[in-house]
C-alpha cells in the first residue's frame, strides 16, 4: 500500500502535466467547436424564462415579456443582425417579424403586447426557433467545417458552391499526406533494408544520415529546401549545368516542392519503424528460403516483405498522421493552391478570431487521426493474434 502511494506520488508531476497541458486544452478546443453562447448571452432574460415553457402550448406571457425586455436592452446592432440571421435561417419570416417588433419596442416605453404587434408571435413555431438558438451547443461549426449547414427544416444540406472551400482543402490535405506517405514508403523501405543488412560503422553512418534531419529544427530544414528548390537554386542549377533541362523546373510555391520537402522531413518516421522490425527478423530466414529454392527476389517478396509489413504499416501511419497536421512546410514552400488544413485553422484562429471554426476544423483533424489510429490498432492486433 505504501509502495503504491510512493509510485503515485512519483507519477504525480506527469499526471499533472498531462492534465494541464494536454487534456484541458483538448477539452477546451472540443468545447469551442460546439459551444455557441452568443445568443444566450445577448438574451439573458429569455434564456432564464425558456426552460419553464413546454414548447407545445401557446407561449406564456412571462416569456414574451422577457424577450421584449432583452430586445429593449440590446443596443448592439451588429449582434442583433446576427441573431436575426440565425433565426431566419431556422425559420423564414423572422426578418420581417423582428424588424416590426423592434420598431414597436423602440416606440413604446412600457410593456409591449407582442400578439398585437404581429399575430405570428402566438405561433409556437417561432418561439421554438428562438429557444433553439438559445441552446449553448450547436453543430453549426462542425457542419461548416465540412461545407454543410442546416436549412430551415433542420435538415443537413451542402452550402452553396463557391462560399467555402473547407472540403476541398480537407481532401487536398489527405491527398498530399497520402502522396508523401507513398513517397516515404518507396524511399524508406529499401533504405531501411539497406541499413538492416549492413553492419558496423556503415550502419551507424546510414542511421545517422536518417536521424540527423530529425535532430535539426523543422524551420531550418524547410528554409534549406526553400534555398535548394528555387529557380536559381542548387537543384535547378545542377540540372541545367548537366544539360538535362533548358528552363528551370518550377519547384517552389507548388505541389512538387511541398511533397519533396515534406517527404524529406518525414522520412525518418518511416525508416525507423521498418528498421526496428527488420533487425528483429531472424538472420537465417533468407538463407532458409534460398535453400528451399527461392531466388532472391521471390524470397524477398515472400519472406522479407510480408515480415516488414508491420513496420511499413506503422511507419505509413506515423507519416500520414504527422503529414495531415503539417503547417510550416506547405506555408513556406507551397503556393496558394497547396495550403493544407492547418493553414486554414491558423487563419480562423489568428486571422479572423473565429475560434468556433478553428476548433471545429481541429476536431475534424483529430477525429481523422483517431480513426486511423484505431484502424492501425485493429490491423496490428489482428496480425499478432494470428502470428
Amino acid at each position: 500500500m505504501r509502495r503504491h502511494l510512493g509510485a503515485l506520488v512519483l507519477v504525480g508531476p506527469l499526471a499533472l502535466f498531462v492534465a494541464l497541458f494536454f487534456l484541458w486544452p483538448l477539452a477546451t478546443v472540443m468545447t469551442q467547436a460546439v459551444a455557441d453562447s452568443t445568443v444566450g448571452q445577448a438574451l439573458p432574460a429569455t434564456s432564464g424564462a425558456a426552460p419553464d415553457w413546454d414548447r407545445q402550448s401557446p407561449p406564456p406571457e412571462e416569456l414574451k415579456a422577457a424577450l421584449v425586455e432583452d430586445l429593449r436592452n440590446l443596443d448592439n446592432r451588429q449582434l442583433f443582425g446576427d441573431i436575426v440571421r440565425r433565426l431566419n435561417s431556422v425559420q423564414p419570416g423572422f426578418r420581417t417579424l423582428m424588424g416590426r417588433t423592434m420598431t414597436a419596442i423602440s416606440r413604446a416605453d412600457g410593456p409591449v403586447d407582442l400578439s398585437s404587434v404581429d399575430r405570428r408571435w402566438d405561433d409556437p413555431v417561432y418561439w421554438r426557433a428562438i429557444v433553439g438558438v438559445l441552446a449553448p451547443y450547436t453543430d453549426r461549426h462542425l457542419l461548416a467545417a465540412l461545407d454543410l449547414e442546416r436549412d430551415g427544416a433542420g435538415a443537413i444540406v451542402p452550402i452553396p458552391a463557391g462560399e467555402s472551400a473547407n472540403r476541398t482543402i480537407l481532401l487536398r490535405t489527405f491527398w498530399v499526406a497520402a502522396v508523401v506517405t507513398v513517397a516515404c514508403a518507396v524511399i524508406g523501405l529499401p533504405y531501411a533494408m539497406l541499413v538492416a543488412s549492413v553492419g558496423g560503422w556503415l550502419r551507424q553512418i546510414l542511421l545517422a544520415a536518417i536521424l540527423l534531419p530529425l535532430w535539426t529544427s523543422l524551420l531550418v530544414r524547410t528554409a534549406a529546401w526553400y534555398i535548394l528548390l528555387q529557380d536559381r537554386g542548387l537543384i535547378n542549377d545542377a540540372l541545367r549545368s548537366v544539360g538535362l533541362i533548358d528552363a528551370p523546373l518550377p519547384l517552389l510555391f507548388n505541389r512538387a516542392g511541398v511533397v519533396i520537402a515534406m517527404t524529406h522531413v518525414l522520412l525518418p518516421l518511416m525508416v525507423l519503424p521498418i528498421y526496428s522490425v527488420l533487425v528483429a527478423i531472424p538472420k537465417n530466414l533468407m538463407p532458409a528460403a534460398a535453400s528451399l529454392g527461392a531466388p532472391p527476389l521471390r524470397a524477398f517478396l515472400r519472406i522479407l516483405l510480408p515480415l516488414s509489413f508491420r513496420g511499413l504499416l506503422s511507419g505509413s501511419l506515423l507519416v500520414f498522421m504527422t503529414a495531415i497536421g503539417y503547417y510550416i512546410t506547405p506555408a513556406l514552400i507551397g503556393g496558394p493552391q497547396d495550403q493544407m488544413i492547418s493553414s486554414i485553422i491558423a487563419f480562423y484562429a489568428t486571422g479572423s478570431a473565429n475560434w468556433g471554426m478553428a476548433a471545429a476544423l481541429g476536431v475534424l483533424l483529430l477525429a481523422a487521426t483517431m480513426v486511423l489510429y484505431i484502424v492501425y490498432g485493429w490491423l496490428s492486433t489482428d496480425r499478432t493474434a494470428r502470428a
Binding site: 531472424p282 537465417n284 530466414l285 538463407p287 532458409a288 528460403a289 534460398a290 535453400s291 528451399l292 529454392g293 527461392a294 531466388p295 532472391p296 521471390r298 524470397a299 515472400r302 519472406i303 510480408p306 515480415l307 494470428r386 502470428a387
Partner: protein
C-alpha cells in the same frame, strides 16, 4: 590422410557428394584446410568436432551460403560450388529451425513446393504425407510461435524433406532440445533416414549423437579431418590422440615400441613398466606411440590372472553412477579410470587390486 586415400576404394561408384581439396579461409584465418571427402548416396555422415573446428563451414559451403576459397564440390559428379543455394536441391535444417513466422505449419512446408511450381493439389498431398511422417498432422494450421521446440524441429525437418532433395543437411538441429526429446528425435531421424534412403550430412558437436545416428563420422579439428570412419572404427580404433580424447573417455599412456613378436608388440612406457598390445601393421621397433585403453575394457580382480598386462594398484576413488561404477586407480596403474558393471564388487578406497587388459583392447596410435 585416410579420407583422401580411401575414397576410391570405398566408393567404386560415383559418390553423391565429393569434396575435392576444398579450402576456405577468411582473410588470413584458415577455416578449412584441404578437405577431401566423399559421401555416398543414402549415407548418413556426421561432421563431428568442437566449435570452431570448421564443420559448420563445410555445411555452409555445401549448401551454397559460403564459397570455397579453392577446391571443388561435386554433386553426382556435377560441380556445384558456383551454384547459388536456391539451385542446389539440398534440404537444410537450421539450428534454430528458421521457420517463417508469418506462415502456418502447412504453408511453411508447402513453401519449397511453391518455389518449384508444383500444383496446389499435388503440393497439398505431399504436405499431408510429410506431416504424417513427422507425426505433426494435427498441427498443420498452427503458427510456428504456437509450437514447442520439438514440434518446430519436426516442422523444419518436414520442410527440408518435402521436396525430396538429393541431400539433407542438418546443422546441429537437436542442440536446443532437452535430453529426452533429443534422444527421441535422434531415433526418429535415423528411422526416417533408413526408411526414405536419405543422404544426410549432419553437423554436431555431441559425440554420442554422432555415434547413435551415423553410418560414418568425420571428426574435425582445426579445419582438418582427423579421421573418417564408421562409429565402431572411430571409437575402437581412433587414428589420432584428438579423436581418442574427443570420442568417449579413454586412458592414454605414452611409450616406445620395444619389440614385435608376431601378432603382439611390447610397448615400454615412459612412466615405467610395459604393456603388450595387439600389433597393428606398420608398427616398428623404436617408434613412439600412444596406447589408448577404454575404461570399460579394464578388468579388476584380487588375484593376478594368467596372461600379460597385469598391474597392481590401489583404489583411489569409486563413484556410483547409476548404470555403472567409475573406479579411479593410483599410479600403480597409471591413474587409469575403470568403468565397471554396477553389479561388480564394490572395492573400498585403498583396497589393493590387480588391473588387467587384453592386448587386443590396447589400441596403439603412432605419434
Amino acid at each position: 590422410m585416410p579420407g583422401r586415400d580411401s575414397y576410391r576404394t570405398v566408393f567404386p561408384v560415383q559418390p553423391r557428394i565429393r569434396f575435392h581439396c576444398v579450402s576456405k579461409s577468411f582473410g588470413s584465418l584458415s577455416v578449412i584446410d584441404d578437405l577431401s571427402l566423399d559421401i555416398a548416396a543414402g549415407e548418413f555422415v556426421s561432421l563431428l568436432g568442437p566449435s570452431g573446428s570448421g564443420k559448420t563451414t563445410i555445411l555452409m559451403i555445401l549448401a551454397g551460403f559460403e564459397a570455397p576459397t579453392s577446391g571443388e564440390v561435386l554433386l553426382d559428379g556435377r560441380r556445384i560450388d558456383h551454384l547459388p543455394p536456391y539451385r542446389r536441391d539440398m534440404g537444410v535444417v537450421f539450428q534454430d529451425y528458421a521457420l517463417f513466422p508469418h506462415m502456418t505449419v502447412a504453408e511453411n512446408i508447402a513453401f519449397p513446393l511453391k518455389m518449384r511450381g508444383i500444383g496446389r493439389a499435388e503440393a497439398a498431398a505431399k504436405v499431408a504425407r510429410v506431416l504424417d511422417m513427422v507425426q505433426m498432422g494435427s498441427m498443420r494450421d498452427r503458427r510456428p510461435s504456437q509450437l514447442s521446440g520439438g514440434q518446430k524441429q519436426r516442422v523444419a525437418l518436414a520442410r527440408a524433406l518435402v521436396f525430396e532433395p538429393s541431400v539433407v543437411l542438418m546443422d546441429e538441429p537437436l542442440a536446443a532440445l532437452d535430453k529426452q526429446l533429443r534422444e527421441q528425435m535422434q531415433l526418429d531421424i535415423r528411422d526416417l533416414h533408413r526408411r526414405l534412403g536419405l543422404t544426410v550430412v549432419f553437423v554436431t558437436h555431441d559425440q554420442s549423437e554422432a555415434l547413435t545416428m551415423s553410418d560414418r563420422i568425420a571428426v574435425f579439428n582445426r579445419g582438418r579431418v582427423e579421421q573418417i570412419g564408421t562409429p565402431r572404427e572411430i571409437y575402437d580404433r581412433p587414428a589420432t590422440r584428438f579423436v581418442a580424447d574427443f570420442i568417449g573417455e579413454t586412458n592414454l599412456v605414452e611409450g616406445v615400441v620395444r619389440d614385435r613378436d608376431g601378432g603382439c608388440a611390447v610397448v615400454g612406457l615412459a612412466r615405467g613398466g610395459s604393456l603388450s598390445v595387439a600389433a597393428a601393421n606398420g608398427l616398428a621397433a623404436g617408434q613412439r606411440v600412444l596406447v589408448s585403453i577404454r575404461p570399460e575394457r579394464i578388468a579388476l580382480g584380487r588375484e593376478r590372472p594368467a596372461g600379460p598386462n597385469t598391474l597392481r594398484a590401489r583404489i583411489v576413488d569409486t563413484v556410483y553412477q547409476g548404470d555403472h561404477l567409475r573406479v579411479l586407480l593410483d599410479d600403480g596403474a597409471f591413474g587409469f579410470v575403470v568403468r565397471m558393471d554396477r553389479r561388480a564388487t564394490e572395492w573400498p578406497e585403498g583396497a589393493e587390486v590387480v588391473a588387467s587388459v587384453d592386448p587386443a583392447d590396447c589400441w596403439v596410435i603412432p605419434l
